[in-house]
Amino acid sequence: MKHLRTVTILLAVAFVGLTVISCKDSKKEDSNDAMHSNLSTNEAEMNHDETMDSNTMNASNDMMDSSTQNSSAKQVVLDYMALKDALVETNKDEAAQAGKKLESTLNSFNVSSYTSEQQKELKDIIADAKEHAEHIGKSEMDHQREHFKILSKDIMDMVAITGTETTLYQQFCPMYDKGSAWLSMEKEVNNPYYGSKMLHCGTVQKEIN
């Protein structure tokens, strides 16, 4: 008897599921296509960069250290700042938007101008940061902030490799989750973990140039 009931339920679920799946599949194909075209442009870009690299290798290698920041890295920092500002304002929807934007920037991050060791580290950071950005894109405020904390660590480690053209301030709130840091472009502390509840709580830990 119990079996019979399970079977009936399963069949009902199955039919609904089938309709859902058939819709979903066509969607998936679309996004796959989009991804393919994305990939091929990326490849084209990379090849292009390689040829450029071999021409300008000597010149750019010397300058690489911290003064020249890769344009993807620059955009990541900008997207991160938009996210941080949305969290300061406790605006969930804007934070979600910023998270999605950051995710897509990370997706097209071009690491080819870095050494192979840096590339390895960067790819790891990007993979991690992407996951957090994705979650921020679809979570409630409290989860957005939890992910932002780990994301901040990722971005700090990224900046340590890519360098930064604009001055960044590493700030720290001792209250949130046993102490949490973040990056800002202004020296004045505006707390992304608490927003207006404790807007100016925190200290400047470090100036990154």
């Binding site: 399970t6 599921g17 979903k24 991690d128 957090h132």
Partner: protein
């Protein structure tokens, strides 16, 4: 009638089975060797979709259920495959552990549909606390 014919028809479409006898050296349970009770909970509640080996239920012989399961398993493994745990960097391990904790805390995992048909995969309150505590401790132990 049309639905019935379609239903019979799709029974002949086969799906890929997610099964393997090999437990890789990178496996979560192998590397971390958690206490037996936690090991059991993870195997029953998580490993069906988050590893290379699924213990298929009898109704996996019925379409379109098999498709639904295949889809869930594919997504689950893409998000986290416990068999490949140790190939993650410490950075990513910590993020995954954080997500595991949140997912269990919020009842997002195991999936509702999975819990409905797998009564044994439901984590009781104390079992949840046990797993969450273990994952947190593991996260703090990582450099």
């Amino acid at each position: 009638m049309v639905l019935f014919v379609a239903f019979v028809g799709i029974q002949f479409v086969s799906t890929k089975q997610n099964q393997s006898n090999v437990i890789p050296k990178t496996d979560f349970l192998l590397v971390n060797n958690p206490p037996k009770n936690i090991k059991k909970l993870l195997q029953v509640s998580c490993y069906d979709c988050h590893s290379n080996n699924t213990e298929y239920p009898w109704y996996n012989k019925i379409q379109p259920i098999a498709w639904i399961l295949e889809d869930h398993i594919k997504e689950g493994k893409a998000e986290l495959n416990f068999n490949e745990w140790d190939s993650f960097s410490s950075r990513r391990k910590k993020s995954k552990l954080k997500s595991i904790v949140n997912q269990i805390k919020d009842d997002d995992m195991p999936l509702l549909s999975y819990r409905l048909v797998h009564q044994d995969a439901i984590l009781s309150k104390s079992e949840k606390e046990l797993v969450i505590g273990y994952m947190k401790q593991l996260k703090d132990s990582l450099k």
